[in-house]
């Protein structure tokens, strides 16, 4: 029987309508020593207002440099079952689809070899197995991999790519987000499992500019579906929205960022040449509006958390690229980017930081992409700029 801790503080977090993580830990703690000690240590953190984990060491499964986050308690005597307590990142399914069969199998494995605690999902998109001891890592990996599952990324490596539900269940997807995610994940297994980059690299793929996977904020490479063509309008559906009480002028026309819509109470018009494909009108009137024409993606680079130069959002590198299997054009572009990063990136320098340090020109020339106004919000303001010898001869 696992040790039972008094948890007066955490018990407070079992109250209230939202499902309680404390209840989850207690469920596991009832039958699992690690989960029990996790609970005990957490109660102590709540009492002392501080964490009790130490930096992770290098720990993992044979042949892999990533996929496991090492973690050690700073109170190993008090909580021996989490003295070492590493998380295992299982590469999730594109779109986060599961079957009950797999889930149950996973639970069986994890109850046997781990804490019985999980995260569905980690912020990057892994299925996180939350804590086990060093000696269980190989068994966990063997169990999962033999069933067709593999580890995700960690460290200075490609991280588990993730995507929005896209074509699987959304009417707006311009690209096959799941297939892209699957394809790049398979393509770059080595890059994911054997850290050789200057720092981490993340892909996130969204089917449209709604960006339900937060790609523009949380991926070194953000792939965002878009189109070249008009928005088809079903005027009878427009009338239906109006009838149901939508104030089309206020809610749609006035909120269009490029002011390219008009509505006279009967007909909705769009000046497609001025549309910036923000998705607002389409999202709010899904039955009436539909993009038509060529589908593809905008490729943006560089978003990340605040360290070291402040948070960044990804910015446009390629305004439009066709995205069709096997995605060779895209993959070649990425390889070029990685080469550039490999050549110039400092240790712990994300690719976006490197481009900011080096300047867009050097990057674009290296990867062979033309300068285009779509890459910038506005041109430079101060008239200091470089000329190459070749430029001067033009």
């Amino acid at each position: 029987m696992p040790k039972k801790y008094e948890t007066p503080l955490l018990d407070e977090l079992e109250k209230g309508p939202f499902p309680s993580f404390v209840t989850e830990i207690k469920k596991a703690a009832a039958k699992n020593d690690m989960a029990a000690d996790e609970l005990g240590q957490l109660e102590k953190s709540y009492r002392d207002k501080r964490g009790y984990w130490k930096h992770g060491g290098i720990v993992g499964v044979r042949g892999y440099g990533s996929g496991v986050i090492g973690r050690y308690s700073s109170l190993p005597e008090e909580f021996p079952n989490v003295a070492n307590f590493h998380t295992v990142r299982i590469n999730s399914i594109a779109g986060f689809f599961y079957t009950s069969k797999f889930l149950k199998e996973a639970c069986d494995i994890w109850d046997k070899y781990g804490s019985g605690l999980t995260n569905f999902h980690g912020s990057t998109g892994d299925l996180v197995l939350l804590g086990t001891n060093t000696e269980n890592l190989e068994p966990v990996f063997a169990e999962f991999s033999s069933r067709g599952w593999d580890l995700g990324g960690s460290g200075s490596a490609l991280r588990t790519p993730s995507c929005c539900v896209g074509p699987a269940r959304c009417e707006w997807s311009n690209i096959d987000t799941l297939d892209i995610t699957y394809s790049i994940t398979q393509e770059w297994q080595d890059e994911m499992h054997r850290p050789a980059f200057p720092y981490k690299f993340k892909f996130k793929t969204a089917g449209c500019a709604v960006d339900c996977i937060a790609s523009i904020a949380r991926a070194d490479c953000s792939i965002i579906g878009t189109w070249k063509g008009n928005i088809a309008i079903d005027q009878s559906e427009v009338a239906n929205y109006a009838k149901k009480g939508m104030n089309i002028q206020e809610e749609i026309v006035n909120m269009c960022p490029s002011k390219c819509m008009s509505y006279d109470g009967k007909e909705l018009k769009i000046n497609d040449a001025d549309c910036v494909r923000c998705m607002h009108c389409i999202a709010k009137m899904t039955k009436a509006l539909k993009p038509t024409g060529e589908k593809g993606a905008t490729i943006l680079i560089g978003s990340k958390a605040p360290f070291v130069i402040g948070a960044t959002l990804s910015w446009v590198i390629v305004p439009f690229m066709k995205m069709e299997p096997p995605y060779d054009e895209f993959k070649d572009l990425i390889r070029k980017m990685w080469e550039f990063w490999d050549e110039h990136g400092k240790n712990r320098e994300r690719i976006g930081e490197l481009i900011i340090r080096k300047g867009m020109r050097e990057f674009l020339e290296y990867i062979g992409v033309e300068p285009q106004p779509q890459q910038v919000k506005e041109p430079r303001r101060d008239p200091f700029f470089f000329w190459t010898e070749a430029d001067l001869q033009k």
Partner: protein
């Protein structure tokens, strides 16, 4: 018992094997969707086929018991098909309309919290906190729990002017999307780290420790074969601690959280935006951080009361102006609000236009 044969670099299974048949059939061929209730929506394919999604909240940290229960329910009503959303909610994928009602009944009876679809508060993206991370200046799961308790009715029933995306990060590494959320909580330190010089020499690379500091506060201390920190330049970000464990940044008395607001990631209407600082500091007050929930409540109430339909928090604030945001929320404006980091100058008010 012998372990099964391990395999390497096989990557995840193919997604197709996890899609319900109706999705396989109508893949990429959806026509529209309708939100039937805060917890239920239906997607209709051009073929006329439909799939219903029933969404329930999840604390993200799930025990195997709970996962088994979710799997059982999915088997009973969904042919075993279930998915998670990008914000960690669970979606039961119902292909057969007649299962919709019984599924919901069972979920209700088992006290699963349905909702989160449409213009409301969905689940809070968050991180490890004291549960598993060495870097945490606060707990993430606890903050999420108390916030979601506070706003539960905005998940299950009530509407907000547009979706409100919240996030919690337990340190400035921000493993959640704090930097682009409508309202987010991020844990921060407020004391210059202390250095265990003896350990630095063995455990840390001096150059990368120096490079880790965003303000250039760290310089070599050759005498001690260690580094030193210029206290005047340090803004307690903790990045040196990340790369060099003997640098200790935690200080229970002074650690706590900041609240940032007005970010978004989607491109609808206005471009993606960073969150901006609303409240520089609230002390850690576990287990229920009442000052955090009441402050977020203030912000949310002001937004709900004043924003136009479809306006996100950041869009609302930009329309009324930041000076008015501080006025209507009653939050104090402090020196901490004025940027002094790399792009500070771009945030200064280079105009004579503002409100009183």
């Amino acid at each position: 018992m012998a372990l099964p044969q391990r395999r390497t670099d096989i990557g995840p299974p193919h997604y197709k094997d996890f899609l319900p048949p109706v999705i396989q059939k109508n893949y990429g061929d959806w026509k529209y969707h309708e939100v039937l209730s805060p917890g239920v929506m239906v997607h209709v394919a051009n073929s006329g086929d439909k799939i219903w999604s029933v969404r329930v909240a999840s604390p993200r940290l799930l025990s195997t018991d709970t996962i088994r229960d979710l799997a059982d329910i999915a088997e009973k009503y969904c042919g075993g098909y279930i998915r998670w959303t990008t914000r960690n909610n669970v979606e039961f994928l119902v292909s057969d309309e007649k299962n919709l009602e019984p599924l919901q009944n069972e979920l209700k009876q088992k006290k699963y919290m349905m909702g989160g679809i449409g213009s409301r508060i969905s689940n809070i993206v968050h991180t490890q906190g004291w549960i598993h991370c060495h870097s945490a200046a606060s707990d993430a799961s606890g903050l999420v729990k108390v916030l979601m308790d506070e706003f539960a009715d905005y998940f299950t029933t009530k509407e907000t002017p547009n979706k409100v995306r919240m996030a919690v990060a337990c340190c400035v590494n921000m493993c959640g999307a704090v930097h682009c959320s409508d309202i987010a909580v991020v844990a921060v330190h407020r004391k210059v780290p202390t250095i265990d010089h003896d350990k630095v020499k063995n455990m840390c690379e001096v150059p990368s420790t120096i490079a880790a500091c965003p303000t250039g506060a760290i310089s070599p201390d050759p005498a001690k074969k260690s580094v030193k920190i210029n206290a005047d330049k340090c803004m307690y970000c903790g990045n040196c601690f990340t790369v060099c464990p003997p640098i200790e940044i935690h200080d229970p008395e002074y650690d706590g959280v900041a609240i940032v607001v007005g970010g978004k990631v989607g491109n609808l209407r206005s471009n993606p935006k960073f969150s901006k600082l609303a409240v520089p500091f609230i002390k850690n007050n576990p287990p229920r951080w009442p000052e955090v929930t009441s402050t977020v409540r203030k912000i949310l109430d002001a937004y709900v009361a004043d924003a136009k339909k479809h306006e996100r928090v950041g869009e609302w604030i930009e329309r009324i102006g930041w000076e008015k945001f501080f006025k209507v929320t009653g939050l104090p404006f402090t020196f901490q609000h004025i940027d002094d980091f790399v792009i500070a100058r771009e945030t200064f008010r280079t105009a004579a236009t503002f409100k009183w």
